[in-house]
Amino acid sequence: MKREYEIGFIINPETADEEAEKIKTSITDILTKGNGSIENVDDWGRKALAYPIEKHNEGIYVFIKTLSPGDVIAAVERRLKLNEKVMRFIVIRLDDKLKKTNKLEKKWKRIERFSRKPESDRERQSGRPAPVTPKPAETVKKEAVKEEKVETKVEKEVVVKEEKVETKVEKEAVVKEEKVETKVEKEAEVKEEKVETKVEKEVVVKEEKVETKVEKEAVVKEEKVETKVEKAEKPAEKKEAKTIAKKTVKKEKKVEEEKVKEEKTEEEKPQKPKKAPAKKTTTKKEEKTEEEVENAETK
């Protein structure tokens, strides 16, 4: 019956390397002759000893692993004992240790069953909440900030949009009507009636100026609806009334619009600068009209 053994021995350092190899080969020969097989041979060479043996601080270490019957191992031990150049030797059976490992594996399996759960619990207790708890605190703060920002933005946007929508609607409704009407009227009719309209305008304006402005404002509001209705219905027929109404209405609207625009420009410019030039154009046009009116007044 073959068993696994490990034979280790220390050779006297004073011996030559050839003699040391002879000792090694003699032992391997005994093993091979006795139906044994050599699995591994470890030559450490000369190595310092942990403590002096036979007044030597060095030794030649050799380890041989074999699969061989016990009788041969006894012969090897005898040979090692008798050899004077071998300072120490040791023979270990690895077989029984490997047998016991089966018991160890069973034990490890048992340990795994018990140890896995607490480890996972520890990870849950120590690992998981730690990353979870700090993140939400930051995220919540960020979210809160974001929400605040969003709320503020929404409020601003809502307010601005409402203002914009109102103003735009007013502007667009008023300005477009005015523009269309004025342009159409001007383009269509001004060429023929330039002189007449100018004269009429001047006359009318002067008369109105002489009258108090309070009356204008009071009257014009009433006139607006009337004039608008009239404009929509009969733009061409009542030129004088329209021109008067337009001018009066324009003045008031300009004032209102300018105020609104000033407010808008302050609010909207940073957020939406694209709309500013469009308004500027309208304002410029209106300014031009104002200038014209002023010129007409001066004349």
Binding site: A50, I90, K97
Partner: protein, 90 residues
């Protein structure tokens, strides 16, 4: 003899409670099947500076591995890989 459950008196000299990490067998953790005496560097952590073998209650090794360890240390001592006694004075 075990006493019945009496309300325990607060002792005059209460036991001091020490908390430490739970010990475990490092050989079982690494799944080492048998301890090799040739690897003296691994055995070094289970020996005192003077060369004494540390008890299992200190290191926390299991009984199986402690048995192997003590054997391996003795074998390593025999093969002059570890010193028997290391004098403290050096």
């Amino acid at each position: 003899m075990l006493r019945p459950n009496k309300p325990s008196r607060p002792s005059r000299f209460p036991k001091k409670q020490y908390f430490s990490k739970k010990k475990y067998c490092s050989f079982c953790k690494d799944r080492i099947r048998f301890i090799d005496y040739k690897k003296s560097s691994d055995l070094g952590s289970y020996i005192l500076e003077t060369g004494k073998i540390l008890p299992a209650r200190v290191t926390g090794t299991c009984a199986y591995h402690q048995k192997q360890l003590s054997k391996a240390i003795k074998q390593a001592r025999h093969m002059a890989l570890i010193k028997f006694i290391e004098s403290r004075r050096g």
